[in-house]
């Protein structure tokens, strides 16, 4: 006699240990295999774009910190660059260098978090996560020295940064730059050629280069699929045209490659910070001291390479002190487009790992 069975619908999230914030997947399952995925988002929607219309340009900076709460420095940078393009303000030299140092340190922090939680999803009992958090804390101490806060930094202002780095910042940065490569080798030793990790992530959730471009994926996820597209190289902003670094590119675009991209990008970021520290000159750190920034009417969109992908603020100004419309091109949201294609056909365990490898931050997805 034939046993009749039909697909079960399993809800992963919104209250679930490994959904990187508040995210829900309605999986239609046949036993362990996934037949259909429907991501449900919006649990962390705070209406940042509506709020921005009631705040003046400098107050919106505190809003941008809280979008991708793991990489607030690069959020500030994207917003401030867009404002400067709006009013034609050119930031000071030292301000730009400090911005790039902050952004690259933030990229290292964001990739550490992504790698740590990627291993946590794979089941390693929080040990790689603890190592990543331990190193992340040392960089957050630097941020605390630089701008007074560890997570919501609000460090950048239109025209540069709000205050110069304190004297004890540079030796502390020097210490980190010296012993970080050794630490990254240790973290890689724990993960990269661990048979169980390769066994579970190689070939899982692969996306081809063409599909990735068509699905507007950007950042490490796109580069893992073999497409060499990095906004820092394509459209250099701040001082990225004066530093040399290479862009790691994967080949198959599976979970393993996405993890490798992040580890290699951490090494590249270290190189960039090294060059910035060498090239930085004393000088003013802020072009304008304007409290009420009032750009001429117009619009601007300056994309940057945030840790999660291409982040850009589309600002429309009508000449008043508040932006008329602010739209955030959120890389985390758009990287979710191809999730169904990545997960269908795989197992329940792979769904969590593939979602983890996309390194999505719910604060940025829902805004």
């Amino acid at each position: 006699m034939t046993t009749h069975s039909e697909p079960t619908i399993v809800n992963i999230g919104p209250h679930h240990p490994s959904t990187h914030g508040v995210f829900r997947m309605r999986l239609t399952m046949d036993g362990e295999n996934i037949l259909d995925v429907e991501p449900v988002i919006g649990y962390l929607h705070r209406g940042s774009e509506k709020l921005a219309e009631e705040r003046n340009y400098t107050q919106v900076i505190t809003l941008t910190d809280r979008m991708d709460y793991v990489a607030s420095m690069t959020n500030n940078q994207a917003y401030v660059l867009s404002c400067e393009a709006l009013a034609g303000v050119t930031p000071t030299e030292r301000g730009m260098y400090l911005r790039v140092i902050g952004a690259e340190l933030q990229r290292i922090v964001s990739h550490l978090v992504a790698t740590g939680f990627f291993l946590q999803d794979l089941g390693a009992f929080a040990t790689p996560l603890m190592y990543s958090m331990r190193e992340r804390e040392r960089i957050l101490d630097l941020f605390e020295m630089l701008c007074g806060a560890r997570i919501t930094v609000s460090y950048m202002r239109i025209g540069g940064v709000f205050q110069d780095a304190p004297a004890e910042f540079w030796p502390a940065l020097r210490r980190i730059l010296d012993d970080f490569p050794a630490y990254i080798d240790e973290l890689e030793g724990l993960i990269t050629d661990n048979e169980i990790v390769t066994y579970r992530t190689k070939g899982v959730g692969a996306i081809s280069g063409a599909d990735a471009i068509n699905g507007s994926l950007t950042g490490p996820v796109l580069r893992a699929s073999g497409v060499s597209w990095d906004v820092r190289v394509a459209a250099p902003y701040d001082v990225y045209d004066r530093v040399t670094f290479d862009v790691p590119v994967g080949d198959t675009g599976d979970n393993y490659d996405r993890y490798l991209m992040r580890i290699r990008e951490i090494r590249e970021s270290l190189k960039i910070v090294e060059q910035c520290v060498a090239q930085i000159q004393p000088g003013p750190v802020r072009a304008t001291n304007a409290m009420l920034f009032r750009p001429p009417p117009g619009e601007s969109y300056v994309p940057i390479e945030a840790p999660k992908g291409e982040l850009g603020f589309y600002l429309v100004s009508d000449g008043t002190i508040a932006p008329y419309r602010m739209h955030v091109r959120a890389p985390s949201l758009i990287n979710l487009t191809l999730m169904k294609q990545m997960l269908v056909g795989w197992k329940l365990a792979d769904a969590i790992v593939s979602f983890g490898s996309l390194d999505v931050n719910m604060g940025e997805v829902d805004r």
Partner: protein, 158 residues
């Protein structure tokens, strides 16, 4: 450096292919008739010369008299970017063809524009609310959206 293709340069190539599509070409962007947007986008993507294969960002802006949908396109091979715009009039049911057929990346961005601005994209596979819950009435990002006075109870969402 990404060469920003201006609206004027693009105007005549698009004009030749789609005579009545171009409404206005300025330094910053090329404004196209709303119902021709899908065809122009397909042309810009598939044409070997243009090759805009990455839809960077899709935004809806509410200018009270009309809604303006802004498309930021990028060509990875040519390292070029262009801004395409389309204006949709009327506030009850503004609609224009969806470009999900051209770039799959537009899927979630169009759903967000529909959810927050109320612009329907015809031909979108599952145009549903994304950020607000199913029982939500009104489109919050519109300039004339007024939060109903408290205490209000939304019907139980899906």
């Amino acid at each position: 450096m990404t060469t920003a293709v201006t609206g004027n340069e693009l105007a005549d190539t698009v004009q030749r292919r789609f005579p009545e599509a171009v409404e206005e070409a300025s330094e910053g962007a090329l404004r196209v008739a709303p119902d021709a947007i899908a065809d122009v986008c397909r042309f810009l993507r598939e044409d070997a010369l243009q090759d805009f294969d990455l839809l960077s960002s899709l935004t809806a802006v509410d200018y009270v008299e009309y809604f303006e949908i802004v498309y930021h396109l990028t060509s990875i091979a040519r390292n070029a970017s262009v801004v395409l715009k389309a204006r949709v009039y009327g506030r009850e049911a503004p609609a224009l063809p969806s470009v999900v057929g051209v770039w799959q990346g537009a899927d979630l961005q169009e759903r967000e524009a529909f959810d927050l601005m109320g612009v329907t994209f015809t031909g979108h596979p599952n145009l549903k609310r994304m950020l607000t819950w199913e029982g939500f009435q009104g489109y919050p990002l519109r300039r004339d959206y007024l939060e109903p006075p408290l205490p209000y109870t939304w019907p139980q969402g899906g």
